[in-house]
Structure formats: C-alpha cells, structure tokens
C-alpha cells in the first residue's frame, strides 16, 4: 500500500474488515515520509501489521532503484520509530515454519523451537528431538520474506522491466479491465521469478517481454487457493490467498491503483486442502 492510500485504507481494505485506524493512518502517513526522506527511497510502502500478543509489529518497505530486487524493509512497534528489518537468515527461514506460538511483540525475545526427530523440513539426521534458538526479530524477517515469496501479488502490467534489467513501476499502466481482473492469470507473483523466462512468457498469447517476466498466480496448488472477488460495484478486484489468511491484494480496475496489505498473526495456514471442498471446486 503506497503512502497516498494509507489515509484511505477504509476504501481499499475495508472489504477485508481490517484497516489502519485513524490514528495509525495519520502517524504512518507522516513517519513513513520521514523514513523515505532519510533513506532516499524513490517510493515507500506500508506492508502490513503482524499481530502479537503484547504488541503489534508494523512493517514498511521502500526501494530506491529496483522495486523487485531492491526492497528494504523496516519495522516498528509504535508506528514512529523505525528499525531496519534484518535480512532473513538461513536458520530463521528453516525454523520459522516450525514455530507455532504467536508473536509476542518483543523483537529481542529468543524462543526455543523444537525439531522433531523425523522432521523432514530440516535435512540431516537426528537421534533425538533437537531444540534450537530463534530470535523473534529473525522470525519476523523470515515471516515477511515468506509471505512476500508466496503471496505478494501485483496486477499484470503494473511492473515493467527496463532493457537494463531494472524493474520499475510502469507509469503507463492503465489498470486491468473488469473482465481481465476476473482472471487469475492477470495477477502475478511479486517476487523474483522462479520459473524460466520462456515458460512465463508462453503462458499468454499476447505476451510482452517487459511485463510477463513474473510468475503468474495460476501455477500455485491446490487449485482454488487464490480467491478473487470483485466488489459489487465492479470497481475493485480483491485477491486473497487461502494459505496466508490476512493478506489482501487489491486493484482498482481501470486505474493504476493497486497494492497489498497484511493483517494477521504471521502464521501460514496449512489446512487449505481441508478448507476447500473436495468435489465441488
């Protein structure tokens, strides 16, 4: 969600029930601009809010050159004092999916993560269950990384790859039409592409080298894990992932306005196969 829409969060994420409160909005609107100025970011975005038991984390990111590869994340617990979110560590990325407890709201808290003897997520043989330490700050970084990796969404055409390889926002993006917005293919993963460029290009007949370099959403499993809703007024498309309840991507059709925001506990839901109807999809 970019800086200008923070004050109007009711219009965009109201359909999801969670918005930025009046006070949060006003504080963020100003403190993020100052953060942008300090870091010489070209643009700054509010990423979302991870709900903790004691305190909540507010996350923001900015970029100065490349919007896809050059994102820098910041976090705060009171919307005003921002600290750099560390890069996800290898240990953190491995351990985070195993954490089942809630975020507490204290970044320096160190929690113990129990690794079962026959845990398959972590390679290596263990003779007995193993305890490993994880700092909540690292867990936060890994969670944000994972959410972005799996559930960040941009409408097709909103990002543009320049001939020198740098990805920028497409200033000539005019927005998807309502018809296009109903199609899952029109939304792309906001992450460095994982598939070969060719296979991403060839998913479309009207491919465009500068736009179709990202992975489309329809490669994800199980079918139906992405929810696309068009508002009754047919002016906005809402994309939600069943794997990350709390992440909401919105796009105002026929306008360049788009964005995403996360409000949640930072826990992936692995229950998608149970939640979807087995026969009635």
């Amino acid at each position: 969600m970019n800086l200008n829409s923070i004050l109007k969060s009711l219009d965009s994420c109201g359909y999801f029930g969670h918005i930025l409160s009046t006070e949060e909005g006003i504080v963020l609107h100003n403190s993020l601009l100052i953060l942008q100025n300090e870091n010489h970011f070209r643009q700054i975005f509010f990423w979302g809010k991870i709900l903790g038991v004691e305190k909540d984390y507010y996350i923001a990111y900015g970029y100065s050159r490349d919007i896809l590869y050059g994102k820098v994340y910041y976090y705060s617990r009171n919307c005003t004092d921002w600290g750099l979110l560390p890069k996800p560590t290898k240990n953190g990325l491995v351990l985070t999916p195993l954490c089942t407890s809630k975020f507490q709201g204290d970044p320096s808290l160190v929690i113990d993560v129990l690794i079962d003897k026959d845990e398959i997520l972590i390679p290596g043989k263990r003779k007995q269950p193993e305890l490993r330490k994880l700092k909540e700050e690292d867990r936060l970084a890994s969670t944000v990384y994972q959410i972005m990796d799996e559930a960040g969404v941009v409408p097709r055409g909103a990002l543009f790859r320049r001939p020198d390889g740098i990805v920028v926002e497409n200033s000539s993006f005019e927005g998807l039409s309502t018809l296009e917005a109903r199609e899952i293919k029109s939304f792309l993963h906001f992450r460095p592409p994982t598939r070969k460029q060719n296979s991403n290009l060839l998913t479309r007949d009207d491919f465009n080298y500068a736009m179709d370099f990202l992975d489309p959403l329809d490669i994800d499993l199980p079918e139906g894990c992405w929810i696309i809703q068009i508002t009754p007024a047919e002016d906005m498309a809402i994309v939600k992932s069943i794997h990350w309840p709390g992440l909401l991507s919105y796009h105002f059709c026929k306008t360049p306005k788009h964005g995403f925001i996360y409000f949640g506990h930072g826990k992936k839901s692995l229950d998608a196969p149970f939640m979807l109807s087995p026969f009635c999809m």
Partner: protein, 608 residues
C-alpha cells in the same frame, strides 16, 4: 501521398540537371548519374522519408505515420522518463490503431458495472411504504429499537479501532435493518459482523424475536424432541434381510450350486451392528440457549436477508471437529468427515453460535442478574433442568452501572470484561440434557471433545461418573477466568490511541477467534463485532478425526477362525481317542461311517 513526393523528387532532379547544363554547357557521358551521386541533404532526407513511408506488406501501416503519432502522444501527455517506456507507448498507439473500424458491437450500450448495484440501492433508499391501517394500537406494535443501530456511528468507532467495513456496506446494513424490522417479528436487532467466504461474504445480523413468535415456534417443539422410536422398523428390516438370505440359500440348492456339500447349508445370519448411536440431545427450543438469538445473513449490498435455522447440538459438536471455509452459497454441501448434518446454512449457524458463545463480552458491571432470577433452586427438581449453575440464563442492564475507568479496561488481565453469552457444553447445548433413560452415554466421545473445547475448557471436570452433568462457567464470568489453549493467551487488549487519552478506546481482540473484537469507549458504549473467516485459531494445524476401528462382523469362535488342516497323525490320534466303546457301535450308526472311512484310508496308507 507517396506518388506526389516521387513526382517532386524527380522534378527536383530534373531541375538540377538543367542547371548543370546551363553552367558548364558541355555534355559528357554519364553526366546524369554523376549529378545524382553528389551528396545532397535534401535528397538524402527525401530518400529516408520515402523509406520510412513504405507501407508494411502485412498491415499497410508505415513507420513514418506511426512515429508521428507516438511522438504526438508523448508530447501531448509529457510523461516522466518516457524513454524507459517508449516501447510501451509505441505498442499502445499501435493497439489503438488496430481496433476494427467496423465494430458493430460499439453501438450496443453496455451498462456500467455498478448499474445493478445502483438499482438495488435505490430501492432501499426509497421511504418505507406506509404501514396498512391496522386495528392494533400503534404503541402495541412495538418495532425493534433502532436507536442503537446507527451503523455510521458504529463505523466511526470501528475506524478508530482499526477495523471497519466500507461505508456503502454499513449504510446498506442500516437501511436494510430498518426495512427488516417492519417485515419480521423482531424485538431487538444488532449488527453481528461479517464472515468471509471464498466466493461471497456473509453479512450477519443478530435478532431477538418477539415473545409470541417464540411461542409459536415452540408449539411443535415437543414433537420434535421425542421422535418415534423406530424399533419396530428395525425389526421389520431384520426379518426382510433374513428372508432374502433364505431365498438365496434355497436358490443355491435348487440350481445345484450346493453340490459341493452333501447337505444344504443355511447362510450365516447377517452380522449385527453393535454400534449404538448415542442418544442425541434434543435441540434447544427457539429463544433458549444457543438458539436464544435468531440470525439473518445476506451476501452483500442489495441482497435480501435470509433467516438461518436453529442449531442442533449435533451440528455444534460436528462443527468443532471439522475445518472448512465458507463459500458464500448457503446451499453448498459440506463434504467432510465426520459428516456434517446439513449444508453450509447449518454450518454457518453452528459457527455463529460458537463464535458468539466464545467472544461476546461486555465491561464488568454493565449487566446484572435480576433479583428475581437469583433464587431459582426449585427448578432443579426436574431432572432435565438439573444442570447446576446454569439456572441463571438472563440478565438485564444494571441501572447502577458505573463504567470502569479506561485503565482497568486496558488491564492485561482482562478481568474487567465479562462473558455475556452462555458457554456451550461439550454436549452442544448450553444447559445439560440428561440422557439418563439410556445409560450408554458416549463418554469417550465427550472426553475427546474436551480437548477441543472452548476456551473455558479447564472448567470441565473429567468424567468421574457417567452421569456427571457437564458444567460450564456461569454467565458474566470475567475473561481472566478463560483458560489459555495451548499457551495462546485468549485475549489481547489494545488502546486505540497512544496520544490522546481522553478519547481513547479499549479494544479487546480474541486470539482464539481471529476477527472477534469488542471495543468500549471508556466503558460507556461497547459493541461486539466479528469480521473474519469464521474459523477458530489452531495452534497446530488441523488434523481430521481418525476413522473409528472396524467392527467385528461375527463373534470370534471356531466357525470363523482359520486353522491348519489336521494331518494324518492328528486324525489317527482323534480316531484312537474317540474309539467307540464296543457296546455303542450298534447304536451310533452315523458315527461309524467316518470311522470306517478313516480305517480304509489308513489301510491304504499302510499298503503304500
């Protein structure tokens, strides 16, 4: 255009030619060619332009016109960093050109997307039709109190708490509630919240119906509670199976399939189902317990409100064991194990009941038990009402309510907030139903459910005796009594403002039902709201109930056990053991036969 330019070109060349002639006045061979080859900016320009204006064989377009158009567009729009997006601009201009000129559909008017919505909204915006003149005194008509249903005021508070629904939606809810209370027998109505589905969402309002309506609904209640016992039916079914089996046996005899045995054998009796379904607790009547409130749902702005049916204890119990997302279609079948009795309509109702029971709270002291309700010990004489501690089922606003200060409401122990909805027992009812006529209570099943109970589960005592009634915490128990499930504290408290204390609000958030909120302005105004997926938080991921063990078809005995055939030595031993006493040989003629056979065999063996 092209031919004109060609003419110009040739004419200019000709002109040059004549000039040379005039000056030099002598004629060399090939002079014409030399004159053309001399570099000349004008000529070069014209050549290049001609090239650019060559029409494409495929599309008939030419680059010159295209570039003119692109540059024209760029100059008109003056975008920033245009060089980065030049290709994009060029493509767009081209795209526009390729639109067929003869688009017959263009003449058809396509209504804008919001057209349907606008139509629906306009219907609601009209003033209500004047009520037909009735003989009833207008004071007796008593419509539901709308004074507390100012949705825009509610939205104002919600916005401060960081939750909210789009303004149009809130306005729609307000308009349609106003309409609803005129058409339905509603005594009290409140906006409950929103449940998100995969295709559509549900807006939910919570109502209390008028007294007469509840009485009318419960007239047929007694019949439903005691369904006719179908023992006779079962017997009839048994005898039918028996007959069918006999018929098969007879057929086998007739058609010689029974040749393998000397004697026609009866087929074994059909196995009996030993599993007895536990007696099902009857549903609570409308207006009591989990069915105290009636819920109306609709899919969104402009859709009609649909009343949800009352929940049954079984639906509540099964809903605790499954994990299923809503689709937004009330008729959607719920394909899960254990089988859910009903469709999404019933599942939605069960989840709403569970959410309400778990998350409806108010500041301490706002409600009080009326003095009249305090001494209801007499009712315990009746066995069905003998659920201790459940006698207090009603409360009313406390006239001497003194709002607790904000500091107390924000206290981390949440002891200044109390539950206002009755706790649902593992049985699926709010007051315990004694299944005593049938002593086989499904104890194990209930014990299992204990693990997955609502947040007050520590209140549940393990079943020491079979008939120990299930009890839950009474109404208006402070939230601090809630047990935390799997180390998740059940509630989190936030202050809506860190800057202005005077107008700050306390926001209580349920961690067990993500999306359930209650806010209070310094204790004066409070409201519960739920905005979520309608699913309970799970510390560990969901794992479905395992299937029950396979039942034994027949009691284990020699008839159905597989054993090794007797060897020759065994048979010999048997024979010797069973050698008939000489006197009885004559009497037991039948037994003699196999023995003789045995002897013969042995003789044969000996011969071998």
């Amino acid at each position: 255009m092209t031919p004109v330019i060609n003419d110009k070109q040739t004419s200019s060349i000709r002109q040059n030619h004549t000039c040379f002639k005039m000056i030099t006045d002598y004629d060399l061979q090939g002079e014409d060619d030399g004159a053309v080859q001399i570099p000349n900016s004008e000529t070069e320009f014209i050549n290049a332009k001609t090239y650019l204006q060559m029409a494409s064989a495929n599309t008939g377009d030419n680059l010159y016109d295209h570039l003119t158009e692109v540059l024209n567009k760029i100059l008109a729009e003056r975008p920033e960093n245009v060089i980065d997006f030049f290709e994009e601009y060029s493509r767009k201009v081209k795209e526009r050109r390729f639109k067929p000129m003869t688009d017959h559909l263009e003449d058809m008017y396509v209504p804008p997307g919001r057209f349907d919505l606008a139509n629906k909204m306009l219907l609601l915006l009209k003033p209500l039709p004047p009520s037909e003149p009735s003989t009833v005194d207008p004071d007796d008509l008593e419509l539901a109190d709308m004074s507390k249903n100012n949705m825009l005021e509610l939205l104002y508070y919600l916005e401060h708490c960081g939750i909210g629904l789009p303004r149009t939606e809130m306005f729609f809810v307000m308009l349609s509630i106003r309409k609803l209370i005129h058409t339905e027998p509603i005594a009290h109505i409140r906006f409950w919240g929103k449940i998100f589905g995969t295709l559509k969402d549900y807006l939910v309002v919570e109502c209390e119906l008028k007294e007469e309506e509840y009485i009318k609904r419960n007239e047929s209640y007694q019949d439903q509670v005691e369904p006719p016992i179908s023992v006779e039916e079962n017997q009839a079914e048994d005898s039918r199976i028996r007959k069918a089996l006999d018929a098969i046996a007879k057929q086998q005899q007739l058609y010689g399939e029974g040749k393998t045995g000397k004697y026609p054998r009866d087929l074994p009796t059909a196995p009996k189902i030993q599993y007895e379904e536990a007696p099902e607790a009857p549903a609570e009547p409308s207006g009591v317990g989990i069915n105290k409130k009636v819920y109306y749902v609709c899919n969104g702005v402009g859709d009609p409100w649909i009343q949800l049916p009352d929940a049954t204890p079984k639906q509540i119990r099964v809903a605790r064991q499954i994990y299923k997302s809503f689709t937004g279609n009330l008729e959607e079948p719920i394909c899960t194990y254990p089988e859910f009795p009903g469709k999404e309509r019933e599942f939605l109702r069960a989840q709403i009941a569970r959410i309400s029971a778990g998350t409806q709270i108010c500041p301490l002291g706002y409600y009080t038990f009326g003095a009249a309700e305090m001494g209801e010990g007499e009712e315990e004489e009746e066995p069905e009402e003998a659920a201790g501690g459940e006698t207090k089922t009603s409360y009313k606003p406390n006239p001497k309510y003194d709002p607790p200060p904000l500091k107390d409401l924000l206290d981390g122990s949440v002891s200044f907030w109390v539950h206002t909805a009755a706790y649902i027992l593992p049985q699926g009812r709010t007051n315990w139903w004694n299944p005593s006529p049938m002593p086989d209570v499904n104890d194990e099943e209930m014990d299992e459910e204990l693990g997955e109970e609502e947040e007050q589960e520590e209140q549940e005592k393990p079943k020491a005796e079979r008939m120990e009634p299930e009890t839950g915490p009474p109404l208006l128990t402070p939230l601090s009594e809630d047990a935390s499930v799997e180390a998740v504290p059940p509630w989190s408290v936030r202050c809506s403002s860190g800057i202005i204390d005077n107008f700050a609000m306390a926001v209580v958030r349920s961690n067990l039902w993500p999306g359930a909120y209650c806010f209070s302005t310094q204790g004066k105004i409070f409201q519960n709201i739920y905005l979520g997926y309608g699913l309970k938080y799970m510390e560990h991921n969901f794992s479905p109930l395992p299937l029950p063990p396979v039942q034994q078809e027949y009691p284990i005995g020699p008839e159905i056990l597989e054993m090794t055939d007797p060897s020759g030595a065994d048979e010999e031993k048997w024979r010797i053991d069973h050698l008939p006493k000489p006197k009885e040989v004559v009497l037991a003629g039948e037994e003699a036969e196999p023995e003789e056979a045995g002897e013969e065999e042995e003789e044969e063996e000996d011969e071998d």
